[in-house]
Chain length 681, copies 2
């Protein structure tokens, strides 16, 4: 015991915070007074069990204290009831029940911390701590009194101030309508979901439940792409992902890529409203699906965070995207937005659910790119990093801690398997890996859902249920690269004829040739081919991507990058070797090319779980320097120059073994030269 | 010219502000730098003409300057064009066009001041200055630039900050949707309606027009009563009332008084929603009617301020008023509210119109009473004032600058002519003034819409178009008081028979008698009578009113008040003499009884025109001490004691000449004694 202070010494680990407290002080009270991060939803009433702690006993030489066995008050009936009903790890105590009797060392386990670390990125060891805009609070409200005739809402506000130090609480009509019956049903004890966004001056009551409610509140992190809409359903209490799901963006029927949707809006009066209605309907369906999957009530979803490109952004909000289809590509608004889910007609969610949309970077560089920046943090990188996020458009970030540039490249949807003759979404049955023997020109491949190569014994049986239905984005990239390396395609992208290639797999179609990857027509299945048109589509897409990266590099006056991060589903599944053979991305050591998975989705999750992250990305986006590809003549130059498929031999030693044959060049009707112009016969 | 400063001296009147400015400085610029209150909507661009000033010439001994004829720059083409197109008083100049050439004295006329004085109350000389939450601003926005890809909204915000020093501007989806086409139509010059309420941290764009828009924006000040809904349509630029209109509250079909509507909600599932829908429909209709009357587009109505009693308040908001029907009469919320008109389904107004609702004082004392307090300011009174606002319920304020009390009395709608056999709304054809000859017992009366007494020559012709249709609230009070003074009613309220009264105007109806005021049955018109039931209804109403006032006086331990203010339509039309004969209000010198007109409506207008007033009334209401009549046994005592009609002779010397006959007392079947209990035969 401290000589200067007769009160017992309390030391909290891991924070190391310490102080003296009178005998009988609850551990939770001591923690709060010292600013120790110890959770509590019920405010110390022994209901929520969030404040579990582990007292240490014996000698703590480091802290200079010896803790007696009776340093805390005895195990009590509240703890016993909780443990018997819901279980509690041996040695744990409830911080609100155990009181301090003598010097003690108390450990706060990670799960009892408010600011749990939830989004942990292995590669960069980055921690995101829980700091959500929406949280639950249990509160006991004073009953009404005719002599002090304040409203029920005002007494709730007073209770929240007294019990949780939350000021300036307000409620919308929907909550006001159920406030009175709920307070009475809960006998003046209620749980409220409170929302305060990173830019809000006041705190809003989103929902209210009688008594202690602990069945969970949830949030959606939504990556709204032109082709697919992907969502994570997260628990807003601990950031845990309960379910992930996706649907096709139904706007595809109005146009496959962004510009064709903008055109649809320009050509058809009310066309933008049709597309807005379509995507909102899909979002409601997705929220329902993902809730069913996680077995939760969708009205418990209190927040949704959106990341999306500018056209998707404007169409989600119901803003005509016409200005985004023409220079100077003016956005209606670029800042982050906070609004009611009801304004977006997201009726599946809680009636008062809130929506946060990350800021847009420029007319062609969206909130999805901002989310990638939030997840990958190029602005904190010591080395020069190129981050490539390929959806239907490619968005690129290049920079380091000194400066970050951003641009967008119009790749089109070829990398997603669209506009490819046998293309399809990445789904069971789709060819995702391809190898072509350089000598025999025979292919082997893998399909999604099966680990065997097509030449392995048992492949047919293993794929019998799905069949072999098409080629997905990563499959087509490998197929084109392998065709190039097997001498079936020349540097200009021309496909060899059967005669030139010496294999009957080359099939003439009009003036061009195709490569037959798989023929299931005998059993009523498809003939899966790679056509000349497919090669051209991939060439256009990869040229756009490469040209965008080069443009940013020009801007920084550099010729190489230190590392490349491939984001998105594309980045997760692509073979970096094949991508580099195709010349999709600037050359970099293969070991320095990594996949970040769905970085945009991760950024959305981070923003869902953290107000601080919202504030940070809003600041970072204001500092990103935007480069507009559409008006930059050098973009066209780079684009044309990048049309060829350069590497019939591997660009790096790691790839040197792959290609052994001398390079080839074909000349045929309608062939396209390396300069991209149609040659005369 | 000042010896120490070579620049010309500029003196503004009436403010007296002065300073030296370089030759060529526009008068508007000088005014702004000195903080002189000189209006400008266009920001000095010669468009709005709000900055008109009157330069003075010659010697100004008081200011020590002589102003030469060329002290300002010459009359220019902008001024000439404005004057020829829209007119301008001779001698006026536009402050943004005229520049300073030498010492000058410049007067800012009242209409050029931003803070125009608009609601001036003759009695108390109170000034309200324009400080509305919603104002128009003309602004020139930078065009988009691909190299600085901020959104149009962000550039609008930047322009507002630079040109008007308005920070943190945001817009809802509705405005965002039309932002881009409007900016382009106006060639980057637009007028915006900006809203910032007294408790808002940020400024909201409510609407946007291309170019300079000056056709006006409007607000509604709405007194939402149980029986009638009255509205003033005000110009938000200068506070001017363009039109006033009213409709019956359609909720009457669910119950005449407040408690019967609460009962309806309790007894009928969904009944509250029916009443909410009914009043919202009526409000939309009223907004349309008043707009048509003022010949304005109702979508130019940007704000509405509501004052109403608690039950009307909750039903307007869609909150079930069930708790207001039983002790402890808990309000769902009591604070002032600021919300979107769309939340109240007020679709006739601008899509982004805002609503402000004054705070409620207690479960029975509403925002209408708060508005009366805002208008009449008992909290600033040196003497003890009783303010009586009679609608379907009576709300009372008693106090002075030291303390203010409030309560509500359940008078029922009799004072409004409802529940009266020949009762009707105050409308042309309604009897509003009554005299009964004490000797002959013959009546004479006046009807609304005609200045003649019914006994005057030409009365029949003058009223031929309206007919004589019934008795309004002020008429029935006069009729009952006159019947009492003419000896036709005794102190207990019993009506004399024909025999007792000696006049065939007394008509037996069952066991009771009625007084025939007017018989138009020969020509197919009504027989207008005052029945025993009518007397009872008035007795109950006036007893409740008197008991409430007495209860407040008890609370302050006083027996008299210094003055009485009668508010509401009731207060404006009632004869204070007759009211005092009936014993409706505590005795006070007749000269100290005044009418405040529609004080609740005035309070609503003040709140519509002034953010500062909103802040003030929110503070005042928190300080008002509420007295709950329903649980106060003394209220019942006062109520019973007040049932009699005390003054058959006048209570004050001023009234002494009215009554000359000795008092009478009747005894008849079913008569009710002074103690309010039914007598046995």
């Amino acid at each position: 015991m401290n000589a200067l202070n007769k009160d017992p010494l309390v030391i909290f680990t891991p924070s190391g915070k310490r102080g003296h407290f009178p005998v009988g002080t609850p551990v939770l009270t001591a923690a709060r007074q010292l600013g120790v991060d110890l959770d509590s939803v019920c405010g110390g009433r022994g209901i929520c069990s969030k404040c579990q702690v582990t007292p240490g006993y014996g000698e703590f030489a480091k802290h200079g204290v010896t803790v007696e066995a009776d340093a805390l008050s005895g195990w009590n009936s509240v703890e016993e009831r909780y443990k018997s009903k819901r279980g509690m790890i041996d040695g744990r105590r409830l911080g609100c029940q155990a009181t301090i009797q003598s010097d003690v060392v108390i450990d706060v386990p990670p799960e009892s911390q408010v600011h749990k670390q939830v989004v942990r990125k292995a590669a960069t060891a980055r921690d995101i701590i829980m700091d959500p805009a929406t949280r639950l609070y249990y509160v006991e409200v004073a009953e009404p009194d005719m002599h002090e005739p304040s409203g029920d809402l005002e007494r709730l506000g007073k209770a929240l101030k007294e019990q949780w130090d939350i000021k300036e609480v307000y409620a919308d009509l929907d909550v006001l309508r159920k406030l009175q019956p709920t307070l009475r049903k809960g006998e003046w004890k209620v749980t409220v979901a409170l929302h305060r966004g990173n830019r809000d001056a006041r705190t809003r009551v989103l929902d209210i439940w009688p008594g202690f409610y602990d069945e969970g509140i949830y949030g959606l992190a939504i990556d709204l792409g032109s082709t697919t809409i992907a969502a994570h359903l997260c628990d807003l209490r601990d950031g845990r992902v309960l379910a992930s799901s996706g649907v096709m963006n139904p706007q595809i029927r109005f146009g496959e890529d962004l510009m064709s949707r903008v055109s649809y809006a320009m050509m058809n009066p009310g066309g933008d409203r049709e597309m807005t209605a379509a995507v909102r309907t899909a979002l409601n369906g997705l929220a329902q699906t993902i809730s069913t999957e996680a077995d939760i009530d969708p009205t418990r979803i209190m927040e949704a965070v959106f990341v999306c490109n500018p056209v998707m952004h404007h169409l989600l909000l119901g803003i005509d995207p016409v200005e985004l289809g023409q220079a100077p590509f003016a956005l209606a608004t670029s800042d982050a937005m906070s609004l009611d889910a009801a304004e977006l007609e997201l009726k599946t969610l809680n009636a008062n659910a809130r929506v946060y949309i990350l800021p847009l970077i420029a007319g062609h560089v969206g909130a999805d790119c901002a989310a990638v920046a939030l997840s990958e943090e190029p602005n904190k990188s010591d080395d020069m990093v190129l981050i490539v996020d390929v959806g239907t458009n490619a968005e690129l970030l290049l920079g380091d801690k000194h400066k970050v540039l951003a641009c967008s490249s119009p790749t089109g949807p070829a990398f997603e398997g669209a506009q490819i003759s046998s293309g399809q979404r990445a789904a069971p049955g789709a060819i995702e890996r391809v190898e072509i023997d350089a000598v025999t020109k025979e292919p082997r491949f893998k399909v999604i859902g099966c680990d065997l190569w097509s030449t392995d014994p048992g492949f047919d049986a293993a794929t019998a249920s799905t069949g072999i239905t098409g080629i997905c984005g990563s499959g087509i990239i490998e197929a084109v690269a392998e065709m190039r390396m097997a001498g079936l395609v020349d540097a200009s992208g021309l496909v060899a004829s059967a005669e030139q290639a010496g294999t009957p797999r080359m099939i003439a179609e009009g003036r061009t040739n195709s490569y037959l990857m798989h023929d299931a027509s005998a059993s009523g299945g498809p003939r899966i081919m790679v056509t000349q048109g497919d090669i051209r589509a991939i060439q256009l897409a990869k040229s756009a991507l490469y040209a965008g990266a080069r443009l940013l590099m020009d801007e920084l006056n550099i010729d190489t990058v230190d590392r490349v991060v491939l984001a998105g589903a594309f980045g997760a599944h692509i073979s970096t070797k094949h991508a580099m053979v195709l010349g999709m991305i600037p050359d970099a050591p293969l070991a320095k090319v990594s996949s970040a998975g769905n970085a945009a989705g991760t950024g959305a999750r981070i923003a869902l779980c953290s107000n601080a992250a919202r504030t940070e990305i809003e600041r970072v986006v204001r500092e990103i320097h935007k480069v507009e590809t559409a008006i930059e003549p050098r973009f066209q130059e780079h684009f044309v120059a990048a049309n060829a498929i350069p590497h019939a031999t591997a660009p790096f030693p790691e790839l040197a073994t792959i290609v052994t044959l001398p390079d080839v060049s074909f000349n045929a009707a309608g062939a396209v030269g390396a300069d991209g112009r149609r040659r005369r016969r």
